[in-house]
Amino acid sequence: MSEYTLSGARTALRDGSVSARELIDAALDRAAKTEAELHAFLTLDHDGARLAADAADAEFAAGRDAGPLQGIPVAVKDNMVTRGIETTAASQILAGYVPPYDATAVARLKEQNAVIVGKTNMDEFAMGSSTENSAFGSSRNPWHTDRVPGGSSGGSAIAVAAGSAIVGLGSDTGGSIRQPAALCGVVGMKPTYGLVSRYGLIAFASSLDQIGPLTRTVEDSVTALEALAGHDPLDATSYRGDRPDFRTGLDGGVAGLRIGVVRELSGEGFDADVETAFRRTVDLLSEAGAEIVEVSLPSMETSLSAYYLIAPAECSANLARFDGVRYGSRHDGATVEEMMTATRADGFGQEVIRRILLGTYALSAGYYDAFYGQAQKVRTLVIRDFESAYRRVDALVSPTAPTTAFEIGSKTQDPLSMYLSDVCTIPSNLAGDPAISVPVGCDGDGLPIGFQIMAPALGEAVMFRVAHTVEQLVGFEQRPPMLEVWA
């Protein structure tokens, strides 16, 4: 019961073969059985979730239907604020903080009678690629509990992979949805910048952050995005056009599509098994009628460097508000200045401090032009590279991450090697384009491998179409082996 897809549960809820209450009880039961090992959640809202499920069942009984999410258990990353439910972004500085309002994405879930299971673990303020940077303890990969789940949306990826939720909400600033999706063997997508409101998403890097869904199938991803996307007057960067059609052509296959393989996103630093699975998938697309072209995007190589200047710069300002004055934790001091410096040094973890320092430096007098300013110009080049590629191809593909799930603790002492996990995913954030990761197999250790499909801004339909085809062609059916034990 807890391994329903969204479309399966949607049908079952409507034909009466399952109730929302049964779905949430199964999800909470699965969480109860797995939390000690996986630690996917920071808060489980048992009472609120059951109430919401009962309310959804009442809606069904009354013949009211607020859409495909009605009655569906959804796990929400803890950097989206939830009214009345503790929201910490996995930081000590927000321990105990209870927001007085809902993020727009959360409000949309509620309006559509989805059932929020709880708030999921993450890297503190979404800074990290392993969910090890949580102030409240690491999460573990359901495929192998000595491995990281990826990050920063690790908790949401685990919840979906392990059956504690049908849909997970994540946020993706440099790959934080796609990379954990790849490492946990689920589908994770980052929409075009602006499609999903950022209002109530605790900002990491405002010009890069996007909320998106983690699901078990591509079709579920489409459905979830349809539920989340839409203009929000509370977000000045929210897309104002009509919501694009994401679904048309989903089953149309790839015959006649031109698909570009990004030359720079392979080779050195990429696991052999990852490369093999990637090539095999590209061959399948070719056999299915896609025209495969190799594409060179020279700026990819510096995009990581640009990202690690732009994102920290924005974060250094975004995180300035955590000062012990209005909310969150406080470390006392004789003066307000002492209080602030002690509160911040105390409340932030090492990775957050590292990035704040990095961003502050990159923006400071005398260094702006050489670092931040130059990074913004490289960003322009990344956008140009993509634009010129999309004049020749309909979509681009690459591995989602250079490796499969690595061992817990193996990269925590070497920030730069951790940052390299995001080399394939970062360019789409810089460009504001949509991208999705689909599982396409496992490596020799039985760990999942993700395949990334990128498309131009608002090109979700073609991205989903390729992703859906890949899913059909690959037929990835594997589930974390421990599921049998946890069931």
């Binding site: 903080y97 209870v98 007085p100 602006g194 010009s207 007057p233 000045a236 960067t237 929210s238 104002r240 700026s299 190589e301 510096t302 460097s305 640009a306 690690y308 200047l309 250094s316 000062d323 012990g324 004055v325 209005r326 909310y327 969150g328 406080r330 006392d332 001091g333 004789a334 003066t335 307000v336 200045e337 002492e338 209080m339 410096t341 002690a342 911040r344 040094a345 401090i353 590292r354 320092l357 990095l358 502050t360 430096y361 400071s364 050489a370 670092f371 300013g373 130059q374 990074a375 913004q376 110009k377 490289v378 960003r379 322009t380 956008i383 920030p415 730069l416 940052y419 384009d433 801004a457």
Partner: protein, 96 residues
């Protein structure tokens, strides 16, 4: 280009009260990361305009309409310290 970082100054700007040991730890890490990040300087960006934002949108405004404010009690409940409807903090340096 060799990276020089006045880490104590940067930490002061960011209001991070770090010990000397912590400062030198972060300084070493930043040097490595910035050395990598400095690759952006090797790219020829003459005539390239900076991109601050991926959107080409302009003029996102709101009408000048009053919306309900938050309940003060609920807000102050989250404050580390409050008094008579105000947030309370230790005094500023200058007022000492």
């Amino acid at each position: 280009m060799p990276i020089d970082i006045d880490i104590a100054h940067v930490a002061r700007l960011a209001r991070l009260g770090l010990s000397d040991a912590e400062l030198s730890h972060y300084q070493a890490q930043l040097a490595v990361i910035l050395d990598h990040a400095a690759r952006v300087q090797e790219i020829d960006t003459e005539d390239v305009k900076p991109t601050a934002h991926p959107l080409s949108m302009v003029n996102a405004f709101r009408r000048d309409e009053v919306r309900p404010s938050l309940d003060r009690t609920e807000v102050l409940e989250q404050a580390p310290e409050h008094e008579d409807g105000y947030f309370r903090v230790p005094p500023h340096l200058e007022t000492q």
